[in-house]
């Protein structure tokens, strides 16, 4: 079917696609270009390429704020949350998918329920619990919250994948005297690479970009993740457009660059998750 249709139809379709691509990209391109212009040029030539490229806006942000610190915090929180999510969802998924027992179906639904209930509705109790555990204003509090949110997606993806691993593989190992732990570690997990990639990818973006929980749980500057820091910088620089756009770019471009490098795997991960759901 690909490439079929009369030529005028095809031209119309590509025009529509090009317009949508422009709409998708232009605000981001504008943001990036504005961030390397002088304030004077931002007003006189808002649409053109910069006549003089200035990097001073970025230098100012990185030297005047602890931007690298915010970034490191975000990397730590995202990496740690995903590690916890993978570990905590792999274990029950194996039990649910392979060891039939009464209530396993119910348990599966219980884990999936978390996808339908936004944890933000439990924010009051999250704040209270973190306060009780003396975890307020710590990266650990964020990691705990994101891990809890991510478990349902992990269980959904892993259970789906583990069910497809042929029973013969585990049975053969069982005959050879392998324990359930051995089967899990040596047969199930190595067969789950695409699922692990999908679970990591699906969870990474919402954690990386989350603003709500840092806003609620983090107060000291040294513990801020970059979305929270961006909001503060925006308020601080409001009238200096070059700085504002540089701050917004710093918060968006790294993820876009990573995505462009691994877009194929990324979209496959999203699709994998979507199809299992």
């Amino acid at each position: 079917m690909r490439g079929s249709g009369r030529i005028p139809v095809r031209i119309a379709l590509y025009t529509v696609l090009a317009v949508q691509a422009f709409i998708a990209l232009y605000p981001i391109v504008l943001m990036a270009l504005t961030s390397v212009k002088t304030n004077n040029e931002i007003f006189t030539h808002p649409y053109s390429l910069p006549r003089t490229w200035v990097t001073g806006n970025y230098a100012t942000i990185i030297t005047q704020s602890s931007y690298l610190r915010y970034y490191a915090n975000s990397v730590i929180v995202t990496a740690a949350s995903i590690t916890v999510i993978l570990g905590l969802s792999l274990l029950p998924s194996y039990v649910i998918a392979k060891l039939k027992f009464r209530g396993s179906g119910l348990l599966y639904l219980y884990f999936l329920a978390g996808m339908m209930i936004p944890l933000r509705l439990g924010t009051l109790n999250i704040v209270r619990t973190m306060n009780w555990l003396s975890l307020t204003d710590s990266l650990l509090a964020l990691i705990v919250v994101y891990a809890a949110i991510g478990i349902p997606y992990g269980v959904l993806i892993f259970t789906g994948f583990i069910r497809e691993i042929p029973e013969e593989l585990s049975n053969a190992a069982r005959m050879d005297g392998a324990s359930e732990y051995g089967i899990f570690a040596r047969i199930i997990v190595p067969n789950l690479r695409p699922a692990i990639a999908a679970a990591a990818i699906i969870n990474a973006l919402p954690i990386w970009n989350d603003f709500w929980f840092p806003l609620i749980l983090i107060s000291s500057d040294a513990k801020k993740t970059f979305p929270l820091a961006t909001a503060n910088l925006f308020g601080q620089y409001q009238t200096d457009f070059g700085l504002v756009f540089a701050a917004l770019s710093l918060a968006s471009l790294p993820m876009i660059i990573v995505y462009l490098l691994i877009s194929k795997q990324y979209l496959r991960g999203i699709e994998t998750g979507a199809l299992k759901g």
Binding site: R2, G3, Y14, L17, Q20, A21, I23, A24, P27, L30, M31, F43, Y47, L88, S89, P92, V95, F101, R102, F111, A113, G114, M116, I117, P118, L119, R120, L121, G122, L124, N125, I126, T129, V144, V145, A147, A148, I149, E180, W208, N209, F211, W212, I216, P227, T230, A231, F234, V244, F245, L248, A251, S252, M255, I256, S263, Y266, L267, I270, E271
Partner: protein, 307 residues
Amino acid sequence: MQRGQRALRGNLHVIILFLAPTLLFYTAFLILPVFDSLRLSLYSGKLLRIDRFVGLANFHRLFFVPPFNTAFFNAFRNTLELFVILAAIQNTIPLVFAVIISRVRFASFFRVVFFIPSLVPLIVVGFLFKMILNPVWGVLDKALRFIHLGLLVRPWLGDAHLAIPVIALIGGWVYFGLPFVLFLAGINSIDHEMIEAARIDGAGEIAVTRRIIIPLLLPVFGIVTTLALIGNITQFDLIYSAANAWGDPAYRTDVFGTLFYRSMFGANNTGITSDLGLAAALASVMFVIVLVGEILVLRFTRRRGAS
């Protein structure tokens, strides 16, 4: 059952060891916090201090006592409006593009491009469009004037009637990628022989889309709408960044998420102080709405005949 029972006895320690940590963690940090909000809604107090049991007084305040009820119903209306417009956008435009993409060359290029906006943090999206749409120096109005459409210039985010639709459009821009990928995956999983057979029977492109593709995509409409519902019931980032924590202009874009935030932490300039009971009551109402909404969506989009 026999086999199941045996497996259970043999593997009990495995089952417990593999299940218990996750079950405890997940229950303690996701299920309990949400459900315990229902209990907190029966108490009065501040964020970290429960004062006393007050029964349904918080709900009474939320529904019947000004200024709380005005704020509540205003936020309800705005949240609903935002959800309806955004869900309408997400169930149509990404679908149209998924249908187009499934029939052209260079599909993978466009697929990669269309997903890019959803990588930008919502908070950045809100700030960015606040800049672009600014009536004094925003580039949109400048561009409109340049092409002699100055007539169309509006205070986009400052207009009481336009603010929510504009924010919904911004939401449609940033949330384009996932619905698009979901629709595309749905279309690609449709049996091509069925479509070929219909075409041989003389069905045109539009008939194929309407009679075969759309009905088979019903579950995808369900997922997209559910995601819009879950995302919108607690929407905060976009409003906060594009229209402040109280929903400028004059609370016209105040939604459940922003009202919830203010009732938790208080916001002096809006006359609300940190109010545990009120926040919990609001969270309970949001919880009920999201559950009812999900059940309704599921009922309407379940594939007929199947399952």
